[in-house]
Every structure is written in structure tokens, then in C-alpha cells.
Symmetry: D2
Subunit: 180 residues, 4 copies
């Protein structure tokens, strides 16, 4: 099973990118994760799309299409989804069929505050639904006060690592059930 | 009074950019509107910000700072704010003070469907609030079935033009009251 | 197949209750719909629950438990779910297992304005998800300008009737697929 | 200055009602708080309203009208506003002028989880806006893990008490500025 992971923050030391790298360590056996960097994606523009997707967009849409599942590390800026993450969703919601259609995604997020990006994850979940994808499992990974749980770009808080591992295992089990 | 307008869609013939151009015609006397194109804004990246805002970001943040008010033409993609618009908000929410802090914005939006971007406008309003800005007036401009109201990149539907004109007049009156 | 329907408005001539009655006519063969009136449900109060659910709550929770599916006619008050509808969800989300857990619901809504209760339906969908239920199908039934489509407590607009019928058929097909 | 407070939870030992009682102790001098119990409010029904508001509704609408400000202790059920709280808003949004119109409200909330009712408060803020009221100040009071901060129906956590006190002081200062 081959998963694709993206982080909605471009900062190298991002808490959310850190969660994604940690997920790489915590995934069940037999599951690999490729992290796709969103840095080169242009802003969505239908006029550009009409002339043909630029190479970074082709790469992004192909990666989504080929993935068995999506890990979405979802930061929150200004009480909502980041422009970076939404822009990636906007591109991947286009085409017939759109790369996102029929995909099953796993969300998690980290923030320095208490709420662990719950608002951004709600917005992302809603947009995925509208694009024909779904987010699962039911439980949420909201890593609040992330600065106390991350050191040297590693998630070091053991309860959070264990919780994230269980979340990922539930997600992978669902992917396997659906794939049968 | 000098307003700044942006559209959350980059498409040249965008319904929302059309609303913005129409607003230019409908504003009360003594109010001018400059349209800022978001095409050149990079994706928000704190690492880039740490090295100094790139020129398009400097231009964007300066334009927001210097404006007496903001007209935000707000499309909806996938049931939410566009990545383009949110990315612009994310940049303008940064700095001490952030360019958005204390600003009063006027929202409107157009969509081919029925709901006139109500979800995107709600998300934008929430993010503005978090960034220390506010949206006003209370009434909403939700231009549904925009393809029946726009011709040759002009808003031709008279009731919609009149409604938008009243909305803009209310907004400008509020700006003037606050400015005293 | 036995469905349970509720309206989030208690008004006898409610647009949303009208949609529900119309659904009764439009459902595929072999599917029956019982409409549950929420008028007698008390406000949720955990102290009351601790002493044992009052009879109207027992009736409501039993009806949800025994239903093969739920039709939720969802009005919008003040840009959100109605207190009436949310209160019903709050009661049905309680217990082990909660009556709502595992249920598949079909949403629709009508409003005099343009947006057809889209905000209320989003809020309802989110609360159902949190209660372990899911809303389907993907498409949305947003009946705007309902006063022009409803006469004598009947939905008379033919395109809307046809759209609602297709929505219900898709929903019932999904229920049947899941039930296998 | 006379404030009105309500809790969106009816449970006697509710965390949110506890916050409200604590607010009574923490308000600046010269400000008094009356707590209105929502237990007797019927479910909103326009047919009932058409025959004349029942006594508990009259009491509620009068209390809102006469208050200089509103303290809203906002629990979260199923990822949203409680039916109890929304029902109270729905009643108070009716009439010409509606009791809520022009009011300035102060929100806070407590939950056993991490997110401190942020979703419910967002929904409440949105509905207040639609009803012509506004929520202030900008900062949010999100009391997560409330069971560790409340003992014997008293908020005992000192940092949270201090934060709530500052929030209330900012709110009262704004009320006084507006009232001038």
C-alpha cells in the first residue's frame, strides 16, 4: 500500500510536516508513505489550466491519482484552512475524473494553541466531501500545544505518538477493507 | 476615499472579478477603487517571510495598509474559500501590526449555482475576524446563477446591480462614520 | 424498508415539513416513511436523562433505532441549524450505542431566500458525523425561493420534484447496497 | 450596568453554568449579572408565536431587551451549538425589533476535551451576527479539560480565572465605550 502525504505548511520546521514525518515511522508494516512538497504548485487559475496543467500540477495530480490513500497534515491559519492546502485541494478537484474523487483521506494537525487546528480540519473535510473524497476515521487528531510535544523536528510526546499510531492503523485497516 | 479590491479568482473572465469591476462603476462619488491582482503572490511560507517579504508580498501588504477599505470579491471552490483568496489573507495577517488589523472589509461573491458563495464568504469573514479585521455591512451579496446575470464580463442584471450599489453605499457610509 | 422522517421546523405549514410530505409521495416502491413530530421533545438536560428518558425521548430514540434510514428536512434559522433540529440530534446522540450511531441520513432543506439552508445542512452534517452517523448522497437538495415552489402545503415545482425524487432514489439505492 | 447571562447547558453542575457563576464573581465593580435559566423555554414554533409568545418566551425576550450586555456560556454538543442555546437565540431573533438586534455579547465556553467549544462558539457568533448582534472581544475563552479546572462547581484554576477576568474586563470596557 502506497500513501501520499502532504503538509499544508511550507515551513521546513513546520509542526505539521513533523507530524507527517512521524507518521512515516508509525505506519503499519507494508505501508509506505511518499511526502509530496507543495512548494512549487502555482496558484489555481483556470486560464492556466485551460492551456494545460503546468508540470508541478501534473506531478501533483498524478501523485494523488496513483496513491492508495492520502495523509493530510493540516495546519490552521487565521481560524481556517491554509491557502497552501486549499490551493492544493482546488487543483486536485479538477479533471474528469478529478484526482480526489473516490479517495479516502486521513487528517491530522498540530498547532501551538489549544485547539489543534480543528477549524481547519473541519473546512478541509468539507471541501474533500464536495470534491468527492472522504475523510476517515471518525476520531480526530488535534495536537494542541505542539511546541511542548515536538523537539528537533521530531514528535517526542509518547501519548501523542501512540494516539497518532492508532489513528493511522485504523485508517489503514479501513483502506484495506474498502480495497477488498 | 481610496479602496482596494481583490478577486479570489485569477481567471480573466471570472464572475467575481466582473463584480469587482462593476463595483468600480457603482461606488459613490468621491470613492476610488484600485484593483490588486493576486496572480504574482507566492504561496505563504514562513521561511521565505523570515528572509524578507518578496516584492509581490511587499506590494500586497503595502496596498492593504494604505487602503481606506477593502472590497473582497469572494468565489467559492469546493464548498470553501479559494486557496488564492486565503493565501492573500494569510500573508496580510502577518506583521506587527498586520496589514489587515483594524481594516473594515466589504464582501460579495458570485457563483453559477444557487448559493452565491455563502460558504466561502462565511469562511472569509471568520478569518478576517481572527486577523483583527471586520466585514460589514450585515447584509450579504450572494449572486447566484451568475452566468445568467453577466454578459461580456459585465454585470447586466439590473436588480443585482442596484442591490450591489446599495450594499457599497452602506459600506462607504460606515467607513465614513468610523473614520470621523 | 422503513424510513423515519423529521422536520426541523414545528410550524404546520412549514416549507420543510412540506418537503418531507412530498418525499412520502416520491419514494421508490417498497419504501415507507413515517414522520415523527418533534413538538413534544423536551430540551436536552443531562439531569433529566440521568433520571430516565421521559416518554417523548424514549419514543424518539426508539424510532431512530428502529429506522432503516433517516430523512432530515432541515430549515435554517439565523444562518444555522434550528434549535429544534439540533435538540433532536443531541438526544439521539446519547446512549450506548447512541440511536444515531451507524445510521445513514438523507438531508434536504427549503428556504424563502436563495441559499436553500446550505449552512444549516452543513452544520447538521457535521453533527451527524460526530455522532457516528453519516449523510448521503453527495449531492445537495437546496430548495431556494421555496414560496414560489410550494402551494397549499404541496411542492408543485416540477423540476424540484424530479430532483428530489432522484435524490431519494440515490439514497435508497445506497441504503440497499449497505444493507446487503 | 446590568448584564444577562445564560448557559447553553441545563445540567445543574454544568461546566458552562459554572463559568457563568464564576463570571459573577469576576466582573468589574459596578456591573451586575443576572442569570436567566433556559429550562422553561419551549421549542421555537412560529404557530405558537403567532398566537402570542408564551410567558417563558416573554420573560426571555424582555430580559434580553433590557440587558446592557449578554454573557453567553456556550457548551458544545456533537461538534456544534447545543439545541438549548440555539433555541434561545431563535426566539430572541424574532420581533420588530428583535431583542438581539444591536446587542453586544461576550462568549466563553468549557469542555472536557481540548477544544473548549470552539466550534459551538463559531456557530453562535455566526447566528448572532445574522440576528443583528455582535460578539466581542476578539480573543476567545476556550476552557479545555474543564474537569481538571473545576471543583465543587467552582472554577478553581487560577490562570483560567485570571484570563476570564481580563476577558470580562475588556468586554465591559467595550460596552462602556459604545454606550457613551
Amino acid at each position: 500500500m502506497q500513501l501520499l502525504g502532504v503538509s499544508g505548511s511550507l515551513r521546513a520546521a513546520s509542526f505539521n510536516t513533523t507530524l507527517l514525518r512521524t507518521a512515516q515511522d508509525l505506519l503499519p508494516d507494508g505501508v509506505s508513505l511518499t511526502i509530496f512538497r507543495l512548494h512549487d504548485l502555482p496558484l489555481f487559475n483556470q486560464d492556466v489550466e485551460d492551456e494545460g496543467d503546468p508540470p508541478p500540477v501534473v506531478a501533483w495530480k498524478t501523485a494523488v491519482r496513483e496513491a492508495d490513500g492520502l495523509l493530510l497534515a493540516c495546519p490552521e491559519y487565521n481560524g481556517g484552512i491554509t491557502g497552501v492546502m486549499k490551493n492544493a485541494v482546488d487543483w486536485a478537484s479538477r479533471g474528469k475524473p478529478a484526482p480526489l474523487t473516490g479517495k479516502t483521506a486521513c487528517l491530522f494537525g498540530a498547532s501551538p494553541g489549544m485547539t489543534g487546528t480543528v477549524r481547519a480540519q473541519d473546512a478541509l473535510r468539507q471541501s474533500l466531501r464536495r470534491a468527492g473524497a472522504r475523510a476517515t476515521p471518525l476520531g480526530e487528531v488535534l495536537v494542541g500545544q505542539a511546541h511542548t510535544k515536538i523537539e528537533d523536528s521530531q514528535l517526542v510526546d509518547e501519548p501523542t505518538r501512540a494516539y497518532l499510531a492508532r489513528h493511522l492503523a485504523t485508517y489503514v485497516a479501513e483502506l484495506r477493507r474498502v480495497a477488498v
